[in-house]
């Protein structure tokens, strides 16, 4: 059963179509990846699902009904840009957000303490938010998103700002929620996280859906054109090979995109055997990261995109 459905949703900001004819659906009890580059329009879509914005055209149905304020209590939303009241105590903050979602005060308090204990944070209950480290604040924000036990969760970049240990803890919580039958939208740029957690994905660029379906399907569409090599010896042999693109290259490793299809791999293997000692030769599907870059970057090469990315960073 589909818990959420978007049908030809359009949202204008002035003349600009921030959401352009977007349609997708999410099955109950799955983790759904809402992926796309910065400024692709992910947040605008999320804001329409959470009923902060109203779509100008099209329809959004949640739990089988047209989405409205009455559904807000059944959703949990962790926005990308986090925010808590700096001068408010952790416990009061958690209770307030839960109360806004229709939980009674006593119930909210009880739940808040349970979660604080579960995340080893019960000592912070009476501390003000401003006294906590950034990572601690993130944890509190995460708890506030799930405290009212929503059936439907929207997590926008949930793992940013966490150390690897906490990322693992949060991932296990997300998977626990899934086991409990909750439906989760995960919006992220970190493709390996999406790959680990998501059942299905939708890739958004410039307000439009450019890829839709399971990760499996997405990969199939691109075929096995991704070659990973590990070797010992002079790496200049790689320079002779035509019609490839380097995704990664070091003295002993190379990740190559084949531009002439799978058959090309055999020729490369021959050349390799003649020149170096081979430890690993692995012909794989592109990972989600690669797919993301190819889809979003259009015809641009990885190097060009990387260069652009560096340029943006400056």
């Amino acid at each position: 059963m589909n818990i959420l459905e978007l049908k030809n949703v359009v949202k204008y900001f002035g003349d600009y179509k921030a959401t352009n004819n977007v349609s997708f659906s999410i099955k109950e009890g799955t983790v759904f990846g809402l992926l796309g580059p910065n400024g692709a329009g992910k947040s605008t879509i999320i804001r329409q699902i959470t009923n902060i914005y109203m779509p100008d055209e099209g329809e959004i149905t949640l739990f089988g009904e047209k989405v409205g304020p009455e559904h807000q209590n059944r959703m949990g939303y962790l926005p990308e840009e986090r925010g808590l009241y700096k001068k408010v105590k952790v416990i009061d903050q958690l209770i307030y957000f839960a109360q806004l979602k229709g939980v009674t005060k006593s119930k909210a308090k009880e739940k808040a303490m349970q979660w604080l204990i579960k995340l080893n944070a019960s000592d912070w209950a009476d501390k003000k938010i401003e006294e906590l480290s950034k990572g601690m604040q993130q944890k509190i924000q995460f708890i506030s998103t799930i405290l009212h036990d929503p059936e439907f969760l929207i997590l926008d970049e949930p793992f940013s700002g966490f150390d690897p240990i906490n990322v693992e803890i949060l991932k296990s919580i997300v998977l626990d929620m899934k086991k409990l039958g909750k439906t989760i939208i995960l919006s992220t740029h970190v493709m390996n996280q999406a790959e680990q957690l998501c059942d299905e994905i939708v890739l958004i660029n410039k307000g439009e859906v450019i890829l839709d379906g399971t990760i499996r399907d997405a990969k199939k569409r691109f075929g096995r054109d991704h070659l990973k090599l590990e070797f010992e010896g002079d790496d200049t042999w790689l320079d002779q090979i035509q019609n490839i693109e380097f995704i990664n290259r070091t003295k002993q490793n190379a990740e190559i995109k084949l531009l002439n299809g799978e058959e090309q791999a055999q020729e490369i293997l021959k050349t390799a055997i003649e020149n170096v000692k081979i430890y690993k030769f692995n012909l794989v599907e592109p990972d989600l990261h690669e797919i993301f870059i190819r889809m979003v970057g259009g015809d641009k090469t990885y190097d060009e995109l990387n260069a652009e990315h560096q340029e943006e960073q400056k």
């Binding site: 009923n51 304020p69 808590l84 009241y85």
Partner: protein, 437 residues
Amino acid sequence: MINKSKIWTIIQHEYLLKVKSKGFIIGTFLAPIGIVALIAFSASMMIMFKDTTERKLAIIDDTNMIGTMLAEVDTTKYYLSDETSKALKDKIIKQEIDGFVHIPSNIIEKGEVEVFSEGGGGIGFVSSLENNLSKIVRRERMKVMNADEEMIRLVESGVEVTTQKVTEEGTQHDNTQGMAYIGYILGFIIYFLVFLYGGLVSRAVVEEKANRIIEVIASSAKPFEIMLGKVVGIGMVGLSQIAVWIVLTSILVLSLGSIIGAFIEIDPNTLANGMSGQMAMQQAQDAKVAEIMSNVPQIDIGLIIGFIFFFITGYFIYASLFAAVGSAVDNEQDAGQLQMPLTIPIMIPIFMIQPIMENPDSTIASVASLFPFFTPILMIVRLASTQVPAWEIILAVLLQILTFVAALWVAGRIYRIGILMTGKKPKLTDLIKWIKM
């Protein structure tokens, strides 16, 4: 449509957030102590100056009776004069006398006299004259009247003193009346509180937006609910503060008598007056306390209701618009400029209080006090200093309610768009565009 439990949750949150803050506790409990200390200081100054200042007042008596009695009350202060009022006015300007009282022939019936002075005679001097005259006139009225009920009514009606200020230019109203000052103070308190709490609302909105809290809240409640909850919550903080101020100030003023009493006890001036012995001192002390108390004009319940009503409407009109402005900007620095269209209409009435106190019944005064953005401050000044016609009060109340609803609606429209707008600093024209969106 509106979810009351969500608004209530937001109200409670905003209320507790502010009430628990150090600023509120300090402001609420220390301010009355400061105010009372100031009153106590000025009251004791008043007593000290009073002891040494004697005013010489001439009496023009049209009744050929009351004036004589008044002169007998205190011969050091009053003397009967047979000069014309024009001659006496000249004497005032030449500073030969401090002023003169004109007792009209119909004083028994009308109970009105006029005092002409060089101005700024002080509340104390007027009230002691009023006391003296009242006693005499009351006595005379009782003699004239026989019917008991009528007599009582007349006795109660007392004597009203209208003071006239004499200057080179002629005679004009002298605003030494206590009630006008009360009006001034009440008007100023409304101005101050609307500014203070309107500013708090604006800051709370900006904070929520700058800290990105709004995104979470907006996914839990409607923008109008959020705004209303915030405005009401902070407004209730204001009302709590006023309540604490009223209670604390009354307690402190009541205990003020004994504080001043103690102060007078060690005042060498009293001893130097030639009185001696415990009894004399006690008497002097009691008299002074009574005098201070009589100088504090009685505030009737209607005025208190008016004050609370106009504080509430004034606060809601401005606070909701402040919330709208706060929602449009990303930080407090940007808020200042956009707030101009709000701060100016709050400040204009402050400059109008003085002229309105002097001429509370003029057409300009009634028009200005009916202008909804000025009403909260100016109407309370008029209510205190004059008898405002009932239709004007009703019209003011209706206009306030209409404006209050309109302000909430306009603010809600702006707020709804503003809270989610980030990046470029919006102009006033953008805000107007959002209302229509």
